[in-house]
């Protein structure tokens, strides 16, 4: 019960980030929104692991966090003309 409230709130958070992702206005804004959404999603994945009672899903969250961090850095470096 309470978990579904958590999930709803997280869903709302993701929607908010998506709004910013779509609105922009600058590319950096979108990147920031993306970065935020990934953090939220990492948390979501961990909570989902709890929901489904599957320990193994934690690995998924970790992989996700690692890859998305690198993704964000790559976007940032791209935006500042570093690559």
């Amino acid at each position: 019960m309470i978990v579904s409230i958590f999930l709803l709130v997280i869903g709302a958070a993701i929607v908010l980030c998506l709004i910013r992702l779509i609105k922009g206005p600058t590319a950096t804004d979108r990147a920031v929104a993306l970065d935020t959404v990934t953090t939220v999603t990492t948390a979501l994945l961990v909570i989902l692991a709890l929901v489904f009672k599957r320990y193994i899903y934690l690995d998924v969250a970790l992989v996700y966090a690692v890859l998305m961090f690198i993704g964000s850095v790559a976007i940032a470096r791209f935006l500042e003309k570093g690559i």
Partner: protein
């Protein structure tokens, strides 16, 4: 333990929401970064640790996840902020000061 964990998760989720709200609400990219990273990092930290508390067997891995987020989010935050500044995204009109011109590598940045 279970209840403590759930409370931690609740706090985390709340801050995740607030961070996302800030992303939408705050006026420029720098302020959004403030909210986006700070609140969501904190929220993620609490949520993950909360899960670790609810399921004690998962604690160490949850800790690892949270430490990773704690370490990497400021870095990506910084990278994005720097990217914004370097690519010339202007500050919000209500900003009171911009000292970046005094800073070595920004001296020749044209538009701020």
């Amino acid at each position: 333990m279970h209840i403590a964990g759930m409370i931690a998760i609740g706090i985390g989720v709340l801050f995740l929401f607030l961070g996302s709200f800030g992303i939408v609400r705050l006026p420029d990219v720098y302020n959004r970064l403030q909210a986006g990273t700070k609140c969501t990092t904190f929220g993620c930290l609490f949520a993950v640790l909360g899960v670790g508390i609810v399921e004690p067997a998962w604690f160490w891995k949850a800790l690892l996840v949270s430490l990773f987020v704690l370490l990497t989010n400021p870095i990506s935050n910084h990278a994005l902020g720097r990217a914004a500044k370097k690519s010339g995204v202007p500050l919000w009109d209500g900003s009171v000061v911009d000292k970046s011109r005094d800073f070595p590598s920004y001296a020749n940045t044209e538009k701020l």
